[in-house]
Structures are given as structure tokens and as C-alpha cells.
Symmetry: C2
Subunit: 128 residues, 2 copies
């Protein structure tokens, strides 16, 4: 539970934790974009979240510890994959329902989000 990169077992997935993770708009967007992107792995940085790096790390940890995504450390970069099979096994229909209710904005399959230019790093104008 305290390992550097820990993932809950399929059987241990908790619906409350999953829903709590998905309740946040930013995290929900990440999960749904992964779902809409054909379950292809993506680096954290490719999601263009309007928050500081530390906060982004936090959100991805919540997603991982809830069992929504699987992360693989590459030293530099960390790939994120939707745990679709596990989720569909434990909560069939949930992902589909969310995807139907709130399809990721940039539809069309796989948009690579053209970098969005200058990576200012930190100090994103304080959200919330």
C-alpha cells in the first residue's frame, strides 16, 4: 500500500473510491479521454491539466489508487492506461454510461492535443 507504484487488485476495487475519483472533472476527463482513445497508453503530461505539476501527480495517484488507471514508470515519463477490463468486470456498464453522458470534448477518436505551446511549468494562475 505504501510502495512507490501501487495498484489495487481487481477484487479490491471499491465503488465508492471509483466514484469519488471520477467525481472530479479533471480526473474524469483523463479517464474518459483514455477510454475514448482506444485505451492507448498516454503520458501524464499529454493531458494539459490547468494545474501545477505536483497537483497533476496527485490526481493521477488518486486515479491509480482507485484502480481506474495502470501506471508504468519509465524513469522519465509515466504511461497511463485505462484498466478497462478490470472496471468492466467489477462495474459493467459504468464506463459506458459515463462515456455516453460526457464524451470527451475533443472528439474524433485520438486527438494528440497539439502541445498547447509554452510549457510555463507551475504557477498556472491558481485555479479553484
Amino acid at each position: 500500500m505504501s510502495d512507490p507504484l501501487w495498484h489495487p487488485d481487481v477484487a479490491a476495487l471499491d465503488l465508492g473510491q471509483v466514484l469519488a475519483a471520477l467525481a472530479d472533472p479533471q480526473r474524469r476527463r483523463v479517464a474518459l479521454e483514455l477510454a475514448a482513445g482506444g485505451d492507448a497508453p498516454r503520458l501524464c503530461a499529454t493531458f494539459a491539466m490547468p494545474v501545477a505539476k505536483a497537483t497533476r501527480t496527485h490526481h493521477f495517484r488518486v486515479l491509480r489508487e482507485a484502480g481506474l488507471i495502470r501506471q508504468v514508470d519509465l524513469g522519465n515519463g509515466r504511461t497511463n492506461t485505462l484498466r478497462r477490463a478490470d472496471l468492466d468486470q467489477r462495474f459493467p456498464g459504468l464506463l459506458a454510461a459515463l462515456l455516453a453522458a460526457e464524451p470527451p470534448a475533443a472528439a474524433g477518436g485520438d486527438d494528440q492535443m497539439p502541445a498547447s505551446a509554452s510549457e510555463g511549468e507551475s504557477t498556472p494562475a491558481s485555479v479553484r
Copy 2:
């Protein structure tokens, strides 16, 4: 928005708020029991929540303001009804998925919860 008994419009339902409301085990149980109970109205007190009255009121308010239930004040007692039609319209499949993933414990259709006897009123041993 500040009226004593306010309900969000169907079009105003927010998925994030709905998921947040359903993330709590107690609130999720209420919603799912209503769903499994044929959408029949039920008083707050019939749900046997292991918390103080004030806390129960809080949870039902969260459910109502998220648009999950509709409440009608009777002076004494307040009836709670699942807003199934509204939910199915905005988030089709969501309720079904949750119901499938976590069917209410006391299954069998409509259990009236036989009073549970002595209503100690407050001081339920402090949970959490």
C-alpha cells in the same frame, strides 16, 4: 437556490455532483434502495442510517441538491423519491450500472425495514 426545499432542474444536473453524492456509501445505499424499491417514496427515517439526525438531514440534502432524489415536506416526515426519469435522461445507464454493481443488501424487492425498534435518537456511538 436558498429556498427551504430546492431541487435542481433536469438540465442543470451535474455529473460531478451526482458522482460525488453517490461516492458516499450511506448516500449510495439510499439511492440504490430507492431504485430497487420500485421508486416508491420513503421517509428519511426508514433507512436506518447509523448517524445522528442532523447528519442524516445533511446526507439527504446532498442527494437532493445533486438531483438524485425529490423530497416533499409533510410537516412531520419528508418523502424521498428517486428522480429516475431525470437521471435516465441525463445519464442513461448510470443507475443500472450501479444497481448491478452493488445491489442493495436486503434484496427481494420492497422490504419495509421493520422499524428496527428503539429509536435511541442521537448519540449513535460516533462513527467514522
